[in-house]
Amino acid sequence: MPPYGTNGRRVAIVAGLRTPFAKAGTDLKGQSAQELGRAVVAELIERANLDGKLVDTLVFGTVVPSVLAPNIAREVALLPMLPKGIPAFTVSRACASANQAITDAADQIVLGNADVAIAGGAESLSNVPILHSRAFSDVLVAASRAKSMGKRVGAFSRVRPRDLVPVTPAIAEPSTGETMGQSAEKMAKLNHIPRDEQDQFALRSHRLAAAGTSDGRLTAEIMPYFVPPKYDVIPTSDNGIRTDTSFEQLSALKPVFDRRYGTVTAGNSSPLTDGAAAVILMSEEKARALGYRPLAFIRSYAYAALDPGEQLLQAPVLAAPTALRRAGLSLSDIDLVEMHEAFAAQVLSNLQGFESKTWAERAGLSKPVGEVDRSRLNVMGGSIAIGHPFGATGARITTTLANELRRRSGQFGMMTVCAAGGMGFAMILEAAP
């Protein structure tokens, strides 16, 4: 297999930025996903001193789209510092939506269709659309079609009180009806992940994220968010990171999804979060011509999927070896690993899967991917502490991995992201010289 992007068309990650990630219902609750996305892209462009006229395409990911602006990417691309002629599209691949945006944009660069692209994602879980019941929707549609006032009134006469109860979309699999938490709970049981290991992992996530925040490595990737219209709240870092939490506190929490035998708690899961993140991608030759020093190059990526009824969040175990194979690398070549932490139980299951012969066979490998060196894993914490705005997380991880790889003078970095629908993603980055 030829390397991804040859003859100067290697894809460079030139810059990345995100908003602070704020737990839903807190600092950023008044901001829609569109506003979050526009804010981060505007600031990214200006911080990177990028001439908007050079941008060829913009791709954005979101998971719970706004009914009023379903193509959020286009709303972002209509920012005043960008020309109106930038085609833009929105993608959705659950928690890997921003990754999808990035790989779609990168593909366009590799193909020679674009030289400069902006990709990222945004999510406001404080602004989830609340729907009318099916029965009430039918009435509204009938009323809007009614030709006379009498018929219109007639349509409404069919409404029963229970029809007025709104429907809040749950984070559940349409195919199985299982919620994300229930899936994590099931994985903890199937893979025998004890509660204390999960809590220890969560604690680690918080401690490392707190360290990354206080030493400025994480905040360097975060724009201060001046929250309109009052501007009296200015988050500059993620408000889900607990500097003061302890193993004891985490162990005291009650399991949420299986109150009797469960191990998954609010403490060892990622919280519902508002935020946006984006990266600037360029072809290697364009980056050089414009005088940008790339943070890293995309070496390879892979998506994988399995039966959502099985282990919903285990597909990174299948995606990672594919990405490694495409990169011509093995885990031992990897200096740094960033894994999306939906749940501690999921990360630990994934790590176990990397070491398992059974999963290696399923991935078509003769031997397992291997054991991930914990000292190279999520070195600034992960989604459990930082938070997880579905559509944005992939761009956050990409930026963090690229920056940290350079900081540590590493050569290769790998990221994995699990996604609803039984899907997984992996990408290999290569440090820029």
Partner: protein, 723 residues
């Protein structure tokens, strides 16, 4: 379809195209960017109406404009300069009225197809048309700006407008000169229909046909709607009340300095109470009266002065200004935020930097508030509001400054701080970026001392509040390059400002002349005059607010600092008063601190004079009385004498710049035209004599400027060619 365009020696403004019996008349004044009524154009219109009356193949007329975004901008203002007597002007008005009557009485219906600005005489013309269609477009506005030139509508406008849109709407338009957007014009009955610009011609043709066939009726004055209108406009008593209120409000607003609004009210009144014929006669008589007032002459002078400035590139060298697409603003205080907001309104990307996040946040909120006000007033759409807001990015580091075209420094007036900021910024910004300081006082050459590229350093002195104050003073040093100057001037114009270019010096022009005026007000306080009496005296002279109120507004700390710099530079002549120093020492900073010479409510609203302030002043509780005229003369003479020195020293390039700067920057009464026009009007000899009297009492103050003495001796004027 035939094009009938009689060829003659002079290029014609009106082109007529016959479309199935409809004469489509396109008004496109050759050699001009806008359409206006010159005597020749009026002749052409007359001939057109004659032809429409005679030629039975013409069934209707459509009047449209050939200019992209202007319908008719009004009368050619040049012709007002030729007016020498009220009789001349009255005759001119009578002529205009008769021409509009001819339009109205034309045998065939005339449909006005209005796209773009329709102002003054243009508005009066369409009011005489049978049907008015406007386009749904931001450039389509209608207005009667005559009062802004000290005039009144003189071609039937005071009669037709009230009958078309109702008394209150008409008074609002005529007395404020405000433009009305198309949508509002439709609502008030000024337009009969609103269409997309793309179908304006088609719809106008349709309507013309229907009018010709009698299928629709000529535009009828809209019936007044609503109970309030019924009570106030449909009966003589209600109208009397409305007119009286309008008169009272006008007097309150103008302090009796501007006769034109009152004349307009009188003309409107005459039409209602004595009928249209008498109304038109009054209109013409009053127009004649207004046209020869000093106020009108000065306002027209300012119109021409600012028009000339628009064409002034600020440099003689043949250089092109650089584009400014990205602006860095250093300091997110009130000025910095104000500059950021006007830049964002013009589509410039802005990096707004301050040392701490809360200060940046405060600046961004100020930007947001300015833009939100525009949204509320429907001057911009929600999308424009959001876009303009997202152009301004707040930062506490120099991120993003690597690609700015222009930096405006608006930090506190402290030379060491300004040096540090300039040095920091120069390490980051591109080599060809221009660095401007928004200082109001400190010489630019001093600010540029540590600069590695002083040829790119200049001053851009904006006035507060930036989004409302129309002046920008660009300050250049001997080292400033022509490109830098041209760029600052061009960008200032893009921001909608009147830009004057002045040479460097302490306080430049505006701050220095204002300091002389404020100092003198301070001396009057030292002598014991009551604060409110002093303020009232200068408001009575025509300033928008009195000097002490202004001191509270500007901030005593700021004023104090300016005073010291000016004193240091110019010596005893411009020494600050004791009063200001003492009140400042008491910890009063003016309105922003809630305490100054006046009392302020919790909401920042001015209350009365703070009587406790008197015990801080040199005369303590004792008040003395100084005649109003003396208070006015001393303050104004101090200012004007200093203005002349600025011209004498070459700080100012011309008296015109000095007039525009004083009127639009520091509130010199517009109806007096500016300091130099005022000297011309009063006479340099008289001014010098007055100065000498005060010099005798208050030396070293009031020593007449050399140039003034010279002009008094040679009986010259600053504006020798003015009427």
């Amino acid at each position: 379809m035939t094009v009938v365009n009689e060829t003659s020696a002079a290029p014609r403004a009106l082109a007529v195209e016959m479309v199935e019996g409809i004469a489509v008349v396109t008004f496109d004044l050759p050699g001009e960017s806008v359409n206006k009524f010159t005597p020749a154009v009026l002749e052409e219109f007359g001939a057109l109406v004659d032809r429409a009356d005679r030629d039975t193949s013409i069934r209707a007329v459509v009047l449209r404009s050939g200019k992209p975004d202007v319908f008719i901008a009004g009368a050619d203002i040049d012709q007002f300069l030729t007016i020498h007597s009220a009789q001349d002007a009255e005759a001119m008005s009578r002529d205009g009225q008769q021409r509009m009557d001819r339009l109205e009485q034309c045998r065939v219906p005339i449909v006005a197809a209005i796209h773009g600005a329709c102002l003054g005489g243009g508005l009066e013309a369409v009011l005489a048309c049978a049907y008015r269609i406007g386009t749904e477009h931001p450039k389509t506005v209608l207005g009667a700006p005559e009062v802004m030139l000290g005039l009144i509508p003189g071609a039937g406008g005071t009669q037709r407008l009230p009958r078309t849109v109702g008394l209150r709407n008409a008074l609002d338009m005529i007395l404020t000169g405000r433009n009305v957007r198309a949508k509002k014009a439709l609502a008030m009955g000024l337009l009969d229909e609103l269409v997309h610009p793309a179908i304006l011609r088609e719809v106008a043709l349709d309507r013309a046909r229907q009018l010709a066939d009698g299928r629709i009726k000529r535009a009828r004055p809209r019936r007044t709607r609503g109970l309030v209108a019924l009570a106030l406009e449909d009966n003589a008593l209600g109208r009397k009340l409305v007119l009286r209120q309008a008169r009272e409000q006008t007097l309150k607003k103008t302090h009796g300095h501007y006769p034109a609004p009152l004349a307009a009210i009188e003309a409107v009144r005459a039409g209602y109470t004595e009928g249209r014929e008498r109304g038109l006669a009054e209109e013409a008589r009053l127009f004649g009266e207004m046209a020869v007032t000093d106020q009108s002459r000065e306002l027209i002078y300012l119109f021409f002065a600012t028009t000339a400035l628009k064409k002034d590139r600020g440099v003689d060298a043949p250089v092109d200004p650089l584009p400014v697409d990205k602006l860095g603003v250093l300091g997110a205080g009130f000025m910095g935020a104000g500059i950021a907001s006007v830049a964002a309104m013009q589509g410039t990307v802005v990096r707004l930097k301050d040392a701490e996040l809360p200060r940046v946040a405060k600046g961004l909120k100020a930007v947001c508030d300015v833009l939100r006000e525009r949204l509320k007033k429907k001057q911009i759409t929600r999308r424009q509001f959001e876009d303009q807001l997202s152009l301004v990015g707040g930062t506490i580091d120099y991120s993003g400054f690597q690609s700015v075209d222009l930096v405006v420094e608006a930090v506190f007036e402290d030379l060491a701080l300004k040096h540090r900021v300039l040095t920091e910024a120069e390490t980051v910004i591109p080599g060809d970026a221009i660095y401007a300081s928004n200082t109001s006082t400190i010489p630019i050459a001093r600010i540029a001392e540590p600069s590695r590229r002083p040829e790119q350093v200049l001053g851009m002195h904006f006035f507060s509040p930036v989004h409302k104050m129309p002046l920008l003073e660009v300050i250049v040093t001997p080292r400033t390059s022509a490109v830098a100057t041209a760029t600052a001037v061009a960008y200032g114009k893009k921001l909608g400002k009147h830009v004057i270019v002045v040479n460097d010096g302490p306080g430049f022009y505006t701050t220095r002349t204002l300091a002389a005026y404020m100092n003198e007000a301070g001396y009057l306080l030292d002598e014991g005059v009551p604060i409110d009496a002093l303020d009232a005296a200068l408001v009575d002279f025509g300033f928008p607010v009195g000097p002490i109120t202004l001191m509270d507004e500007v901030g005593l700390d700021v004023g104090g600092k300016v005073g010291l710099v000016i004193h240091e530079a110019f010596g005893a002549r411009l020494a600050p008063s004791a009063s200001l120093a003492r009140v400042l020492a008491d910890g009063r900073t003016g309105r922003k601190g809630g305490r100054g010479f006046y009392r302020y409510g919790a909401d920042g609203k001015k209350d009365g004079v703070d009587e406790t302030v008197y015990k801080l002043l040199p005369t303590g509780a004792n008040r003395v009385e100084v005649p109003v005229v003396e208070m006015q003369q001393r303050c104004v003479l101090a200012m004007v004498n200093e203005a002349v020195r600025c011209l004498e020293e070459g700080i100012l390039r011309s008296p015109r710049d000095g007039d525009v700067g004083a009127v639009f920057g520091i509130g010199f009464p517009p109806f007096r035209g500016g300091p130099f026009r005022w000297v011309d009007a009063v006479g340099a000899g008289t001014i010098v004599r007055q100065l000498e009297v005060y010099h005798g009492r208050f030396a070293p103050r009031f020593e007449p400027a050399r140039m003034l003495v010279e002009m008094a001796r040679s009986e010259k004027k600053f504006h020798p060619h003015a009427e």
